[in-house]
Subunit: 285 residues, 6 copies
């Protein structure tokens, strides 16, 4: 029996067999992120990654107004975060030492977001409402991006004097096949629509409203969760690996990967079920 | 005088000057692939690669129903293929030894499909009807993908418990600029249409029916075949190389490549023909 | 006070605060390029790269007929350029020595075009009219590509017996997410339209005519120039770096980059201006 | 005032200013490693990495007989480790699921050892006595390898049917410039001496006995700890980065790194101290 | 029962259990290579790679005078080889077409030599007497290099106007840790001795004469052949992979590799034999 | 007739046919480098790279006391160099803007030193006397390193609070096959001897004194200059390329390179001269 996880700013529920739902839950603040939140996020995805009861995940934001408005700059200032420009509490004024502290902080933050990508199970994200800054960093670490028609997207960072550093600039060139558009939105910080996001390939589905998008995400996650987890885990891993390597390297890694994975009982089970036109059952992973 | 090649499951003809047509010919079985077929396919493309009478190639499937439905799973089982889940004929039960046999088999299969990509001459593929599994592995190793409007595509492998390992997962992230869509179709195995394939950039042309698509492919191949083979061979090679390397590496390789190729007589011939508004003739390559 | 630069075939003006406008100025010859022109182009962009009065650049072609028709083949022949097929003035007939001369020449030419990409400031290019060959090499080294609706594009090189070697073949696979279309236009040299360029993702905006496109480019460049130059310079650099590296490498480089850049005063200035709803002022870079 | 860390199988002491000494402390079992030990090791090095009181680290093994004899195979069996061949407690017999469990386990183990390499502060290791298997995995993740003359080294893994997977095979080709010798010792598992290790370049210093080597390691660590920590941290990082990248990439990363680090006050302090022939004092990092 | 292979210029024998001996057999011509010979060589190593009766291989040259003097230039000329400068039989004088023929030829030749490296089983080579040109290309594709004291080595190619292109220049920088020495011998073509080869790390053992070296090679191959073939095959593969990738990539590939290979029965067999101090028996691979 | 080049701090002479001698000429200041000097150095090597009268180069330092003591820190301070800690003349105090200036400066300096490596002709360097800091940066960009027995080497940078950033840390891991020793000398800044440099593989020859080393360098350069310049230029380029790429990439680049270069007349000339036992003459490159 799957228990629901408890975190301060996240709801983790299990709405369907083998499907987990992670909800960012700070709607009063437009789901803006404080440091504890991305540490939570990382912990959740590391746990789901190895949870044998989970084969697909959906990630959403609570409330109607925002998936997330991005970093909670006010909280960052109060926490004395190194990312915050007002963290003058630090008595250290040596730029090299400040740089060292900043580098550690950025790397830790990046690592938390990358834990979504490293999660072995496919992640479907639903963007809605305000989806600024961190919304893109996070969703680009997910596998499938769906959205409501009214979503307002922005790579917002340049508007506060920052080049986005938690993943957007590293993942966009591999996720969207229009380099001119990428530079346009990243340099101008302009707001763009769901239809534009679909047209350029940032998302793969636009739905009438948040509810419709979440319903579709759940349906898609359930479909993925009905497949062999050996096959879906491998598909995610091999696509991610190939994105970052040459085709020759991708093929070599794939051959070694499947040398183990093709030995699974799931293949026989899947084929037999196909012939018998019934739903297969796969053992836990 | 060009002779037609004879292979059990392929027709190789020469419908226009410098154009070869490779047809998968097992329509009674939806052009499903047995092991001998991908060995044949490799032999054909290695031969065409160096054939001085060939400057462009089209690849199609015989019959109306399918480009290919993918691997012939039944034949695989009978052949005792290591890929087949029912290959229990092997007395060896050590997972490491099984893995070694599987790795050899996957690598050999990958290598045959990659021979299309390594073929020096541009390859235009026409997808039609059922185009599942191996249909994508193969067509992603081709240069230009055209399709009939009614084609039904699917990255089918997860439905039989497998992460696709003959090339689809390694080449898709470099061929299509919508990472979310790639994960969607690869994880769900859902069937998608020609119009969707065009919209996301998997194909570059959709035609009313197979006949129309093949006619267009032949026209395009003939156009390519009318150019200097030094120029078209180089264009294919440099685009493939650059796909897998940084821009700086791509430029360096290009400079070395053209250091030889710009010495060709074809440049003078092409320019003079252009001035004289007549069709140039290039010597064989 | 910013002075206008003087070059034989270029106008460099400063139409708005922190915005430079580079205009290719050889309209009588369809802005075709002679060797001196790409040397000029390089000099201009290297100068603008470090010019503290410049934060964004637009690149256009003079006249109504062409952004550029490409290399001025006639001039190349007269100059005895190694690229020209008629450069028989060279007494050297050893193919290895010719190859060495060609390699040096190609590398020098590539390097000049790459200086646009290396320019620290974002570059918006407007393509119009005839935009053949070098038009693509150059515009692919720019950051944002806008175009007039009537532009006629072509990767023209194969029509003169050449595989494009000044950047098009190295950058296209990273700029456009439809590998089939890339091969199609690069192998066929066919002319394609602005709408097609927009649909596949080669450009990110199509406007009614050249005037409209230039107006939009100026507006976009002005918007970019109004942001912190630390943020926009970083955004360009990190996107270019990430295009050529794995996500993991991109993230690592980003963390080191921002370790210095997040120490800027611009962040405080940008945030305060945001709160006060006024336009921020950033010191020169 | 620096406190000593308490861990079950490690002593962490601070024998000199800014120098930490990590001692593997299970001499009764030849310092063989149980799972808890590499988890401890990782925790220690992650802590020391950011400890402002630490600028250099030495790593040694307790007792006279062994730096470490490697993995404690018996304990692994009892713990039901997936690495252990006798871990038949697992009821799961599906090879793909076993592979998944093994991959997670290996990756976790690798990550712990890599934490030595990721530690920002330079690490000097002293090998002595029996130094088998894991001794090489660990010491290759350290920066400087010193040894006693009587040390007996072995890449022992093939003798128990395993290709070494915790780092030795990945790091040896980058650490030692004799590929033939690397293959020799890794394939034969033969024991080799300290003098041989010095001759081929696996270690950089051989001393009469363990005591002498530890004394030298402490002296060297103290010397390193007397330098600017900004400079030594950067030197370690840039050498590690360059090992894994092209020279061009190494130079680019270096330029960005030092763009921040050259702003340190340490440079002025170091130079002034040099002129005044006194020992400089650097603030904490 | 293992049969001996028959090839025109090679003897393949099986001097010990699981050990194959490949002897280059053209002593009357100093074992100089004709085209048929490297095609033979490739066939032999591809066959041994998958031969379950082979776990280690030694490669030697027949006769006292030479391992090999390199390419048989006279035969190359007679065969009309494209590599030969006197192959004026070709009527084609277009430098681009000649370049295409040369590139195909070089790639085919490289591929044959690389088949030694790709051979799954470890290869010990013994160099003796004249070991020029191709002797280095071939031996650098082997795993372990032993030599007689009187061997005369030379990277001979520059003396005939050629930069070595069959592997020496690509593999030397990864095999020997003295870049200055590599450039010295490759640019000067000077003859160097076995002792020098040992000192710089090109070989890992020098023996009094050819007989002594072959005896040692056989002993070493027999030792390797006595280990688990799963472990030795993996060790060769993982070292080769890591040579060409970053440490992070090497570790990731290793984890996937061993996810399958650690499931082998060989580990239990090896450990039990170790405890019982008897020689283990492993099933065939 | 070759003229001698005139530069303020360098002598460029032509002591033998096709051999250039570049001498650092500021002996009164231990050949310490001011900014103008590395700009000069770059200009010289770019010029020699394409000079048809040059086929090999030697680089030495004037005077008995030092090859170079490194950067002239005093001059750097006076020049207001950004590298200098005392360059407080800059009124700009924003760390991001300082970082930008520093990054530009470092990149420009690196680029000058890299021009030695990019020089098409092989470069033999002779180190003698004090060879600190920049001495290593420069000599690692050369091809062959020879030295006098009394040379005192040091990677000196950490002693002034800096991680070496002009090339030493990027090139050392590819030039010397003892990673432990590299970290030792780079982290400790200790002085090491010529014999130690030879033992670890930093240099390939040690001679009694500077005179002996220069004589040997001249002899070696003359030998290289007597070979086909097509062959030696290719050998340098292919070794440098392979150092930074996988073996597979190295082989592919090599095949394309030699596709042009094997068409040279030099091969026939070299072979014929070999048969006739006379010195060949090659045309200029």
């Amino acid at each position: 029996m799957v228990e629901e996880f408890k975190y301060n700013f996240f709801n983790v529920t299990f709405p369907a067999e083998y499907v987990a739902h992670v909800e960012i839950n700070r709607p009063g603040k437009l789901n803006a992120f404080k440091e504890v939140m991305w540490l939570n996020l990382s912990a959740i995805f590391r746990r789901l990654s190895h949870d044998p009861n989970v084969r697909a995940i959906i990630l959403t934001g609570a409330g109607d107004r925002a998936f997330t408005s991005g970093l909670d700059v006010q909280a960052a200032a109060e926490e004395g975060s190194t990312l915050s420009p007002s963290s003058s509490s630090s008595e250290d004024t040596d730029p090299a030492r400040k740089a060292t502290a900043l580098k550690r902080h950025i790397a830790a933050f990046q690592s938390c977001i990358t834990d979504i990508e490293k999660c072995e199970k496919p992640v479907v994200v639903v963007l809605h409402g305000i989806s600024f800054g961190l919304a893109l960093d996070m969703s680009l670490a997910c596998d499938i991006r769906l959205t409501a028609r009214t979503t307002r997207f922005s790579v917002k960072e340049v508007d506060i004097g920052i080049a986005a550093d938690i993943g957007t600039l590293s993942r966009l060139p591999k996720a969207v096949g229009n380099a001119s558009w990428i530079k346009d939105v990243a340099l101008s910080a302009r707001v763009f629509s769901a239809d534009e996001a679909l047209r350029v390939g940032l998302v793969s589905g636009v739905f009438e409203d948040k509810g419709g998008a979440v319903a579709e995400a759940l349906k898609l996650a359930s479909l993925i969760a009905s497949k062999s987890p050996v096959a879906t885990m491998g598909t995610k891993e091999l696509l991610n690996y190939s994105r970052d390597h040459s085709v020759a390297d991708g093929l070599a890694y794939t051959a070694v990967w499947n040398a183990a994975m093709l030995q699974t009982q799931d293949i026989k089970d899947a084929m037999l079920s196909g012939l018998q036109k019934r739903k297969p059952t796969f053992s836990k992973l």
